[in-house]
Symmetry: C2
Subunit: 320 residues, 2 copies
Amino acid sequence: MKALVFEGRDLHLQDVPIPTPGRHEALIRVLYAGICNTDIEILKGYMNFQGIIGHEFVGVVEKCPYPDLVGKTVVGEINISCGKCEFCLKGMKNHCPNRSVLGIKDKNGAMAEYVTLPIANLHVLPPKISHLEGVFVEPLAAACEILEQIDIQPEYRVLLVGDGKLAQLIAQVLRHHTQNLTVVGKHRNKLKLMEEHGIRTVLLENLDFPPKYFHMVVEATGNPSGLDIALQYIRPRGFLVLKSTYYGEHPFNPAQIVIDELNVIGSRCGPFPRAISLLEHREVMVESLISGIFPLEQWKLAFQKAQAPNALKIILQISE
Amino acid sequence: MKALVFEGRDLHLQDVPIPTPGRHEALIRVLYAGICNTDIEILKGYMNFQGIIGHEFVGVVEKCPYPDLVGKTVVGEINISCGKCEFCLKGMKNHCPNRSVLGIKDKNGAMAEYVTLPIANLHVLPPKISHLEGVFVEPLAAACEILEQIDIQPEYRVLLVGDGKLAQLIAQVLRHHTQNLTVVGKHRNKLKLMEEHGIRTVLLENLDFPPKYFHMVVEATGNPSGLDIALQYIRPRGFLVLKSTYYGEHPFNPAQIVIDELNVIGSRCGPFPRAISLLEHREVMVESLISGIFPLEQWKLAFQKAQAPNALKIILQISE
């Protein structure tokens, strides 16, 4: 089968064997795979990953020990946990220390004609959600994770820093939970998409709130500059949610965290059922976030586009 | 009066006018002042402070609008807040944006023969607490702040990184709230002091817990290296309490905070009444933490000693 393989240096489209599913796994024919910022960071060295990349996908189950699942359109959770450790037994399977992560850590990903995943990781995509929309379930679940971590109070002033792919989803999730959301970003076209959902936005160059104004700040720019903005506007004892992962170290002084007694909360993967429900009930709209759909063969162009400043989600079409 | 003044470059013992207390302030004759790590950092440029340094003190009220307080031995909270802003009205006066901070920000400190403070900041030292012990109320309150922020569960494994002045107090506070405390430090003599209270300690070079073993890690080394150790041993979704403030920036990548969904909690000043109660009831013992007492005139030697690797609290005796 064809697969996009990262060898530690470059990305190549290669012919590799179709993977053999394990005893509790399904073999899935991939329809679409989304390019995530994490994929871009992996190409820079993030996580030292080598193998087939890609972790946002929609596919059709081809082989599976449960016959009911065969032929179903599915999305898949990306953490493959051991099921036996302290974390798995306490319902924290996304933090299993023995886990592999689809296309990110010790597990071939979904930018390939076929992928395998444990059946426990699969969620059937309801018919109301299109295949293209389904590509957004994984990042939308990550956006929803914030709601699992913070009980947003009505009086909270909330600032979202970032207007990219993930920030768009976070904005649409948060707007259902606060009247006081402001999004700051660098791209007029991206902010405009948020405004269509009634979300208040401001260009970074026009940002003029008083310092330390917001009870809650979500950093989702995908790069280190977002943290500086977040720290400028977070209020003492406020909640600073970090969603960005990137490669490399950056200068930082934790004194403000101490002085202002900030709560800095890392936030990663989230609940798929909640994300699926939001898409199904049209509470989050994703079609306008698609900046391009490319066949797998045009992966080079697709990755170029994905890194363009004005681009949002780029999707690889892998089979029909 | 004699006062230790930092001019932005060097520290000098100078003759300056005795301060005039404001309408709601007391004039306090300082008996003892402790040297804190923050004082050392101020000399490096931390907070860009200029003026009389010192924020840990015991003194006697000389002048005060409330006659009952005159002649009383007192300690003082260091944040001088406006009493009118959103934070003050919500009981977060230590985070008042208009505040000054004794010997740290816009307010002359206590390494002087006299100091002024608002009456609302003063706490009378109970007779069971000696003057020297009273010097520890301010840093002990800071240690107690952790208990206000985190509800330590019985199953939590707790690691304290650091064996210095503040770490000693934190260890003695935490041991009343968990059976599972381990302290890691670099100094045999300092760890030994903790062991006398039944606290389990380990030299950094012998630290061999599995990575990510602890539910809660308190970083109190006073320098950037402590953060690396803390991040190595904090468990996913664990509580990482930061107590250290220091000058300058250091390379850091927040990816682990995101991936492991850590809760990073800054912790600064704490409740004086709780600290006073702990000292009064001998639940925290501080006499063995005093490494030297110097008259104000010997401030140079005192500051040298305070920076020696094996030293703990150095106290300046200012009047009798």
